[in-house]
Symmetry: C2
Subunit: 457 residues, 2 copies
Amino acid sequence: MSDTKRLETDVVVVGAGLAGLTAARELVRGGHDAIVLEARERVGGRTLNEAVGPAFEQVVELGGEWLAPTQHRALALAAELGLETFPTYSTGANLLERDGSIHRYSGTIPSLGLLPLAEVGIAMARLNRLARGIDTAAPWTARIAPRADEQTVASWIRRNVRTRVAREAMRIAVEAVWAADPADVSLLHALFYIRSGGSFERLLDTEGGAQQDRIVGGSQLLALGLAQQLGERVRLGAVAERIEHSAQLLDVIAADGLRVRARRVIVALPPTLAGRLRYEPALPAVRDGLTQRMAMGAVVKCMAIYDEPFWRADGLSGHATSLAGPAAIFYDNSPPGGSPGVLLAFLEGRAARATLRLSAAAREALVLDGIARLFGPRARTPQRYVEQAWSDEPFSGGGYAGYFPPGAWTDHGPALRAAIGPLHWAGTETATVWNGYMDGAIQSGQRAAREVADALG
Amino acid sequence: MSDTKRLETDVVVVGAGLAGLTAARELVRGGHDAIVLEARERVGGRTLNEAVGPAFEQVVELGGEWLAPTQHRALALAAELGLETFPTYSTGANLLERDGSIHRYSGTIPSLGLLPLAEVGIAMARLNRLARGIDTAAPWTARIAPRADEQTVASWIRRNVRTRVAREAMRIAVEAVWAADPADVSLLHALFYIRSGGSFERLLDTEGGAQQDRIVGGSQLLALGLAQQLGERVRLGAVAERIEHSAQLLDVIAADGLRVRARRVIVALPPTLAGRLRYEPALPAVRDGLTQRMAMGAVVKCMAIYDEPFWRADGLSGHATSLAGPAAIFYDNSPPGGSPGVLLAFLEGRAARATLRLSAAAREALVLDGIARLFGPRARTPQRYVEQAWSDEPFSGGGYAGYFPPGAWTDHGPALRAAIGPLHWAGTETATVWNGYMDGAIQSGQRAAREVADALG
């Protein structure tokens, strides 16, 4: 153990993801001093670029990736940093794998057959309508909150969707959005989240929705750009472990003895990880209990890289849905210009955890099997295969985001954002708009910075 | 920060509750060396004695308290330590507060009216029957597991119990057992837990059930007796923070630099707290995800202490149920001989969290109001009032025990007990018999000790 090193600043930010970096940058702009402690040797949290060629734009994202047209904060940050966007490739037919055969379709919802298709449409419309009753700043106050928070999304689907295929499609849609099984997620949380993004379809859609646009050079450039502005204020490899706090004094203690004294701290971690810091004195039961309950989804983002996007010549968009699994959702994830060609496959929720028990080689084989069933035998032999298992990342704890099981919003919701003395909370899980997305992370960082600036006066 | 202090042993145990102390004692008996690291300045975990008079037997329990006739391990330990038991006072009528009036009743289930009473009886019988299909060592393998783990107990009650009063009674029964709302708990978890204790009624009953007997001098004597046998192997005030592990090497690092090298570690903490240790390398996603999901119940154990148990002269047992709350369940908790007289009131689940937001004085007033409505105006002015808020205890995280929300048993259950290399898990949450009780803690410690002894050869 090295000797204690002491620093002093106005505000210490724990976590150099988009939320923490945004908060620090806002505070520094406002004339306050800030230090950002980041456990990893990189910034960006759940955003991470991976080069797939030597050119600037030959990059894919192993984490958070897309921008939606209503994600004004993320779009503004991209513009400010001089980053360009380009549309997710979506020309041509989408594919559905179901009962051993492959079907082509267009639009968001696959060709499930008339009755299941109608059922899925009605179910989504119902969820959207219920979601309109939710104030995303206080979901527990909704008229339907007691009833919605006592049940899982699975219970709701079982009661509201009858055909097997439609239930399967709803399960896959839920997994695609929350990286969790419908059994895991509170119906109230699903409604809150739908509301925060706009509608269920908007969360699922490419054009007009959450998967519409990408950033040339990769989404991690947002975090890298902020970090560059912050310079040496960002300290990599600093694992925050303990926060000692009182009305007079605040110290954040990191592994290897670094101790930062500040007037305020912004903890910009997913709640489950925020709960793993040690607070002295301990936090109130309602806050501690929240961190015991808000678990992370599980996702493995898998990419097969080819010399060209050969599926485009077959009239395929690269977007696909498989009811067979284990990978259920696919996208064309090629860089602008289509060199190289990249097919993206998601392992989500139970499929993520089940395949994480396998060897990396066995998992890769399963994913490539699925890609090949959809896109043909040429897909089985990519030039390169990469994957990122967010559940295996101790400083993320999973992905895409944290979610509430039943009962938790009702009982612990008010502790999600509320500052406790000099302790403030950021992170996309605390956002009221585009919760769970990069845009929500930015909103949360801006909000936390405002709270702190108001407090510092 | 003090200098690093290094120790070496065969087995390091984290947590000196009943599970950890049992494990260490078994290992030492088997000829192995062990060191127990305990964060608090006391042993006993969620058991804690409080003196209410100068005599040995004038003690009440602020935590785990009672023994059931089928808790063979706890009874054997008590006998071995030379401790005597005595029956919980239950002579006379029980009380029910409902719709503004007080009713007398006998037996476990209050006088709710004929139809609600029948409904509660049928619901409990159904739950018991479903529970019989559960293998408590592997609940996720049950035929009904997928269906039972996708819903909350609240959803089940809503579908199976119709009258308002019966639903209220079921809610109070659930709170009394899990210190959580029916909305929080997976139906599969409830069935598992019922099965591990024997039946729903056995969990609720005094005579023949989980509240039948008490230990003269207080239940913490179980832990204190084990700790005495272990002597200086138990290190108080040692807050374990990090576990470095590999096939060759195992180090447990505590705050202030204590580093214990061992061949095996038994983490005898509730899973949510086990998840707050830092593991290097990080644990597999399925284990980490389990610790993100298994939250603790919330309970405040409140006691009003009088010069005598005056309610006994009124023909009252001291046991009561209030549908009005916030305290819902009451017991006569006087020491043997009835001097002083003690009435015990539980604030559980949402009532615990709601009242923990109040001042201690306001919470005490609410509890005494409830006691006085039931037991008369004399109850309003105790000699002394004590309470223990387990949710405010950072080294317990809540109480009585951890529970699973929906989806978690299915997806993470196999990681509850399974050792990971040299890392073993104990604690009542890992028990297959009397899970959540002192008896389960002892079973888990014995099982973990066996695992380790087998591994050490």
